[in-house]
Amino acid sequence: MSSDQDYPVLQGHQLFRAFGSGAERTVALDSTSINLYPGQFTLLMGPSGSGKSTLLAILSALLPPDSGQVVVDGRDIWSMSDAERVQMRSDHFGFVFQGYNLFPALNARQQLEIVLRWGQHVSAREARSRSMAILERLGLGKKMNLRPNQMSGGEKQRVAIARALVKNPRICFADEPTSNLDWAHGENVVRLLKEMVNELNLSLLVVTHDHRLEPFADRILYLEDGHLLEREMSEQAVAAYQSGSESWEQER
């Protein structure tokens, strides 16, 4: 008997993408297929230039593939019109970027409100209360009126997560979410992401180089030369996860 958890929320089929032409041509993705499931924290790893970011961009409707399909709710998002794709991102996708990419002029609460008001035409009142609720949940209750330049890196990344999740997306994409943070803050961010996966039944796809994230993932995918490999979590990682990340940190 299958449950909702077994049914992928997003399916990428036979994705192919190359850049450049002639002798300069490089293949970033070669017949890559991937499924993302609800309530699952998927880690996408691989060396620099392996095509991780390209795959993330194609799955998240930011970059078109040369061929292949990305299916959400039975529809290929790359066969949709631009407007439908924007709507799809608005309704279902959240993003956390490596460089935070917060709006410098807006305070923490406004960073979230703008997404609800401009993207989903939510009323000012509702946008405010929903933004405040998730900021509270992520421990930013006292930081709501601060602008990015008044916050630490960890706080900024938490605001970025709140901004990604305030719309209640089904899928959240995160690109190197910890690379700008020291591990104490980085770990905090990953733990929060992990908690949100469980609370919101979210499908989270994190692209990273950082092996310290492995213990938190439900599933780890490796991309090398455009080909995707799935592997079980290393015993070392499982052990580290079970004994807490502090001991794992010491091991390193």
């Binding site: 998240s60 924007v86 002029a105 997404v115 401009w118 989903q120």
Partner: protein, 370 residues
């Protein structure tokens, strides 16, 4: 407060150049326009400085200084209850022959000299009017002496072969077309080769000035004469000079150039501000906010830049106009010059904003994912 305004306040350095460019364009337009109007107001001076409400001239008269004779008998056509008084005015171009030879185009203005006469220029003092009662006597403006080849009161010259003697001078009357020569109706007649029983204009005063348009409308039934309210005739004269001299075109060119420079600076500023925020727009786009909504945000910023520029430009223009006035250049920034200026500037700014929208096609996920 809207996110757009919050952003503009925070990033004000990005927008300040645009605001200054809009203000600069507006100032340039208003000053040029005001200068144009101020300059050409001189041409309608003889109309503006009389106390008549209605002017009657020959059919198709295009400007106050190029009238042609009409029968004085038309005065009877003005026997209407709304009209209080009427009188003739002999005003037209003529030729002044300098004592040393050589001639100069001049404008002869022969009017009644009694206190309160309709055609009487306010600058003619009672003393001058008494002196002008002597046949062949004229008053000229001090600033025109050199042009007329005379030096002082008592000098003589000829107009259309008739000898005239300068009995006094005014001090403030300027004319663009030619020196103004003031005299009595009787003195003017031969100087303009005007037949007996003819005049160039008939002036009328209404009991109530607001009746003038109605009376003028009524008088239009006579095809052999052309009636105007004083305002209409003044405007008609100025427009004639404006189009005849192409002065409007010259100043219009200068104003358009200012507008073009302003438009380019504004457009570039908005474009640069948009480029600077491109990553933020890319984030919005990634989060599912349409390019259309982002475009609206840019147009709101554009609108703010326009409004701020206008709010700065208006008082600056007013100050500069006062300064120009002080230096002797007549700058008249009338309400309709302001309306036209503000409208054109707003359109220019919005077009600049639309041009800045081209940056939106540069929104690429590559700026977000490395």
């Amino acid at each position: 407060m809207s996110y757009t305004i919050t952003t503009m306040i925070y990033e004000y350095r990005r927008f300040i150049t645009g605001v200054i460019a809009v203000a600069f364009s507006l100032v340039l337009m208003l000053i040029q326009g005001g200068l144009l109007i101020g300059l050409f107001a001189v041409t309608s001076w003889p109309v503006d400085y009389t106390s008549a409400d209605i002017w009657i001239g020959a059919p198709s008269v295009i400007s106050v200084d190029v009238g042609s004779p009409i029968p004085e008998a038309y005065l009877t056509r003005l026997n209407q209850p709304e009209i209080a008084r009427t009188e003739p005015l002999h005003l037209a171009f003529s030729f002044w022959t300098k004592p040393s030879g050589g001639s100069e185009l001049c404008i002869v203005i022969g009017s009644r000299l009694e206190e309160g006469s309709l055609g009487l220029m306010k600058q003619l003092t009672p003393e001058l009017r008494t002196l002008l009662q002597e046949p062949g006597s004229v008053v000229v403006d001090k600033s025109d002496l050199k042009r007329l080849g005379v030096e002082k009161v008592g000098d003589t010259a000829q107009i259309m072969g008739h000898r005239v003697r300068i009995v006094g001078m005014t001090n403030t009357v300027k004319s663009m077309a030619g020196p103004l020569i003031f005299c009595s109706l009787d003195t003017a007649r031969p100087l303009l080769h005007l037949d007996k029983d003819h005049t160039i204009y008939i002036l009328a005063k209404c009991h109530k000035p607001e009746d003038a348009p109605k009376v003028v409308e009524e008088l239009k039934k006579y095809p052999t004469m052309a009636p105007f309210t004083t305002n209409e005739f003044s405007l008609r004269t100025r427009m004639h000079w404006l189009t005849m001299t192409k002065g409007g075109i010259a100043i219009g060119y200068a104003a358009s150039l200012g507008l073009l420079v302003g438009a380019m600076i504004t457009s570039q500023t908005l474009y640069a501000a948009t480029l600077a925020a491109l990553k933020e727009y890319a984030v919005l786009w990634a989060l599912g906010i349409s390019r259309k909504r982002v475009a609206r945000c840019i147009m709101e910023q554009t609108l703010c830049v326009g409004i701020l520029g206008i709010l700065i430009g208006l008082p600056v223009s007013y100050g500069l106009a006062q300064g120009a006035e002080y230096l002797g250049a007549p700058v008249q920034i009338s309400l309709w010059v302001i309306s036209i200026g503000v409208t054109v500037i707003m359109i220019m700014t919005l077009l600049a904003g639309l041009a800045a929208l081209r940056s939106l096609r540069l929104i690429e996920p590559s700026v977000l994912l490395r």
